[in-house]
């Protein structure tokens, strides 16, 4: 009974690039002039110097009406109101939590932006603060929505909806935020039986689909439910999904429910989930997924 | 090595005189023959599986008046002192640590080793022993009871004649108990030296030295093991092995060490019980004295009062 060990050589290194050979977009690099000042407004990733709009990052240009932005290949998360994020509680402070969301500054979850459990009315009292740690403590993961952006760029979150709040058992993956496709919905119940939250901030949360337990019930029972082991079949699917996402990320492919699901389906040709850790297999899956995405687009 | 300006230094190139004695040039074989005779009796008269006794005559608490708790252990020639101080706030720390921290320092006296003089500055061995001691003690101390505080544990090895890590752990366990630091269990430790198929329980320095020397015959087992155990909870809190041994040897050694560690337990318990009894008596004595003093004072007051009244 010996474990699985593989050591490959650098000469056998896999290049994860699956970029199609189709024409490339125009790239801008730092200091490059994009256009004259007259007709446009500068947005993220640009600055004005000598009456010209110049790029400050390396990436592609986006033009919305008169606003010019340059989007880099990867950067920290820049939040916008309404974004769905997954975050980790870093610190319990007075009347608020500090949350790590892969942004430039730590995000804030105000006590007033939280629905306390059981729908009970929030009393604005010292008692609340003592309860805060019971509700969310350091290390806990939450899903939330960006409520507003402070002047210094830090985000204020809220969880005032049933779909937001503390996350239970599951797996978190961190990817670059720029790989996340902005969609209307970031909560998905995938057909394979797994719930996935694709946070705009690049944090992806996978967990088994909740069997609609009634939240109003006894609190102890909920906690008990939190401790129940997850079935092996669910576990296997989650591991497969995790490895598929890792494969897509290695090839820098955009993530949304459809690309993840395609990758998942393509991966089924490999029986054993741990085979998906192999770089060649990862490339294969990314390649097949790309192929399917291309064919859909052509349709 | 930079010169230490804070101490008096001898000449740079002085050499211990025993480098020039006949003893120094003995071969592996000769050394081995010296350790144990054909009847399996060791140089100091013990059998192979016999540890040096750690009964109350050779271990005691309350050694150091200035410390909160202290202990002294003597295993024939190996002599170890340990003191524990009151927890103090951790300096220069930004983050809150929910568990208290242990700071352990093991130091050898400059004259503690029979072979050469030890330098004053901490060397790699002392650092490794300090880490090992902390590792052994961490599981047993109720660290959640003093968050953001640090507990200092200092061990000083006055004389090193083998098994000094085990002695240090035992002493630190005693000192912690003496300092009334809450613990889940008593901690006991024991060492073992392996040379071929012989296992020297609680080895002396000479035995340890031979065990880590490269044997002449290739492929035999050799090395040292130190194990620390929480005997009531039946948990191993630290295990350290060097040398080279096959699996069977390690398994066997683990069994032997576990038994030895359990054997130490009643000794430690006895010392601690005695300690409590003593301190009770001491307290009674103190209370008695205090009462006497008070009575005397009252008597004097009465005297003065009467004098005052009279005057």
């Amino acid at each position: 009974m010996s474990g699985h060990v593989t050591i490959r050589l650098a000469s056998e290194r896999v290049n994860h690039c699956v970029a199609s050979s189709n024409e490339l977009p125009r790239f801008y690099t730092p200091g490059e002039v994009i256009s004259g000042m007259q007709d446009f407004m500068r947005g993220h990733g640009t600055y004005v110097e000598d009456d010209c709009i110049k790029s400050s990052v390396a990436g592609v240009m986006q033009k919305v009406n008169k606003l010019i932005c340059v989007r880099p290949l990867k950067s920290r998360y820049v939040g916008e109101i309404g974004d769905v994020v997954v975050g980790r509680v870093l610190e319990v402070q007075q009347k608020r939590w500090k949350v790590e969301t892969n942004s430039r500054l730590d995000s804030i979850l105000q006590l007033s932006s939280v629905n306390l459990p059981g729908g009970e009315l929030r009393r604005r009292s010292a008692e609340d603060e003592q309860m805060m740690r019971k509700h969310l403590q350091e290390g806990d993961l939450i899903s939330a929505e960006v409520q507003s952006v402070f002047s210094d760029g830090s985000l204020s979150l809220h969880t005032r909806s049933l779909k937001y709040g503390k996350l239970s058992q599951g797996v978190l993956m961190k990817v670059f935020p720029s790989l996340i496709k902005r969609r209307k919905n970031h909560f998905h119940n995938l057909p394979c039986g797994i719930a996935i939250i694709i946070g705009n901030n690049g944090f992806i949360w996978m967990s088994p689909q909740q069997q609609n337990i009634v939240i109003e019930e006894n609190k102890d029972e909920i906690e008990n439910y939190e401790l129940q082991p997850i079935s092996k079949s669910d576990r296997e699917i989650m591991a497969r999904l995790k490895n598929c996402i890792a494969a897509l990320v290695a090839s820098k492919m955009m993530l949304d429910d459809s690309s993840i699901m395609f990758a998942y389906e393509e991966s089924l040709r490999y029986d054993d989930v741990k085979e998906l850790l192999d770089p060649e297999v990862m490339l294969d899956i990314a390649f097949l997924t790309q192929h399917r995405l291309n064919s859909i687009m052509e349709e | 090595m930079p010169l230490d300006y804070r101490r008096f230094n001898g000449p740079e190139d002085s050499i211990p005189y025993n480098y020039y004695t006949k003893e120094y040039l003995k071969s592996y074989h000769e050394l081995h023959r010296e350790l144990i005779d054909e009847n399996g009796v060791r140089k100091d008269g013990r059998t192979l599986d016999e540890a040096r006794s750690l009964c109350m005559f050779f271990a005691r608490t309350d050694m150091i008046s200035q410390a909160k708790g202290s202990a002294y252990i003597e295993l024939k020639k190996t002599k170890v002192v340990c003191s524990v101080f009151d927890p103090r706030e951790i300096m220069h720390q930004n983050e809150f640590s929910a568990l208290g921290q242990l700071f352990c320092e093991v130091k050898f006296a400059p004259f503690s080793c029979p072979r050469q003089r030890r330098p004053h500055a901490p060397d790699a061995e002392e650092k490794a022993l300090s880490v090992a001691l902390r590792k052994a003690l961490e599981p047993t101390v109720c660290r959640h009871l003093f968050p953001n505080y640090q507990l200092d544990i200092f061990v000083y090895i006055l004389e090193h004649d083998g098994a000094c890590l085990a002695a240090a752990i035992n002493a630190a366990g005693l000192a912690l108990a003496d300092a009334a630091v809450p613990m889940y269990d008593i901690i006991t430790a024991c060492s073992l030296a392996v040379i071929g198929d012989q296992m020297f329980v609680d080895p002396t320095e000479a035995e340890e030295n031979l065990a880590i020397m490269n044997p002449e015959k290739d492929g035999i087992n050799n090395g040292l093991i130190t194990m620390a155990v929480m005997p009531e909870l039946r948990q191993i809190s630290d295990f350290r092995q060097i040398g080279s041994m096959d699996v069977n040897c390690i398994m066997k050694a683990t069994e032997v060490l576990q038994k030895e560690c359990e054997k130490i337990l009643p000794n430690i318990q006895q010392i601690l019980v005695l300690n409590v009894v003593n301190s009770f008596e001491q307290q009674k004595q103190l209370e008695k004295e205090a009462k006497e003093r008070e009575a005397a004072l009252n008597a004097k007051m009465e005297e003065w009062k009467t004098l005052l009244n009279a005057g």
């Binding site: 591991a239 995790k242 | 790699a124 295990f239 390690i250």
Partner: protein
């Protein structure tokens, strides 16, 4: 390293996974993540290797120096390990932040290489009692993705396997001074025998079970891990392997890491598990190194390093 911050429920998920022998990336408790190896990557060193295990990245350089042997071991050379945790791996390592971790690892290595059955220091002797080689094994940790000890020991063994020592003729002159003759030809050198060099296996206790090759998340679920150093089998490291019938891998060091404790039964099982894992690691490493040496002999080898 302080370890990652994980929520209690994430920990439970990992713990149940270990109990089911099915970890969050689909591995069983005894599987390693894929690794990548390259030797001869630093030209200023006599031997070097880079090993990447998932995203744990280790670079090892071996430098040689002529030194005087210790008086109590006149016939042996010296070997010294130095670990540097680069701040590239995590900002926590900035300044002297990684020192404690680095010392822990270098101590483990020093102890594992202490025995002659693990690494024969006689091969570093030039002139008994007068001159010997001293090997500086410098380890640079560039990225941490869990399981540093195992990765470091693999990279060290690969670097030692790759190390060449120049031939030196030394003769004792009158008055006790030593005369050296170093060959001018840089190819006139010998390869180190590193077949028996030990590998470290970390067994991370999660719940009642132990796993090998823990990821960073798994490491932060565990309060205690056992590190065993197991000597290698030279048959994996030479092409014309002669099967030594009674060859037995031995433990050259055992240590524990973390604030927890372990029950004796778990401890014994873990050691057995470690020996099995070390054997398969050793075999895989030996094969990879031989394959690379083959490439090198055929002049096919390019240096990739961090490019490509």
């Amino acid at each position: 390293m302080a370890g990652l911050l994980l929520s209690p429920t994430e920990k439970i998920y990992i713990l149940h996974g270990v109990q089911d022998d099915y970890r969050s990336d689909g591995r069983t408790n005894i599987d390693y993540r894929p690794m990548e190896l390259e030797t001869d990557v630093v030209s200023h060193a006599s031997g070097s290797a880079r090993l990447r295990l998932a995203n744990t990245d280790i670079l090892v350089g071996v430098k040689t120096e002529i030194d005087v042997p210790k008086p109590d071991n006149p016939g042996l050379g010296k070997i010294d390990f130095f670990v540097d945790c680069s701040a590239n791996a995590t900002p926590e390592f900035e300044g002297r932040g990684g020192e404690q971790l680095a010392n822990n690892i270098s101590n483990m290595l020093q102890r594992a290489y202490n025995s002659s059955q693990a690494f024969d220091l006689k091969q570093l002797c030039i002139l008994e009692g007068k001159q010997c080689w001293k090997l500086y094994v410098d380890i640079l940790i560039l990225e941490c993705g869990g399981n540093l000890c195992d990765a470091v020991s693999l990279a060290v063994k690969a670097a030692l396997f790759n190390t060449r020592i120049p031939f030196v003729k030394a003769a004792l002159m009158d008055g006790g001074s030593v005369d050296f003759q170093l060959s001018d030809d840089p190819y006139d050198c010998k390869l180190l025998e590193a077949g028996t060099a030990p590998l470290l296996v970390t067994l991370c206790k999660i719940g009642d079970k132990c796993v090998v090759d823990p990821s960073a998340e798994e490491e932060s679920c565990s309060v205690i891990s056992l590190i065993v150093g197991i000597t290698g089998n030279p048959k994996y490291y030479s092409k014309d392997a002669i099967e030594t019938p009674n060859f037995k891998c031995k433990c050259s060091t055992i240590g524990m890491n973390g604030p927890g404790s372990v029950a004796p039964e778990t401890f014994k099982n873990a050691i057995n598990q470690g020996i099995i894992a070390a054997n398969s690691l050793d075999e895989a490493l030996g094969r990879a190194l031989l394959r690379e040496r083959q490439e090198c002999n055929n002049f096919k080898k390019n240096s990739y390093g961090f490019l490509k």
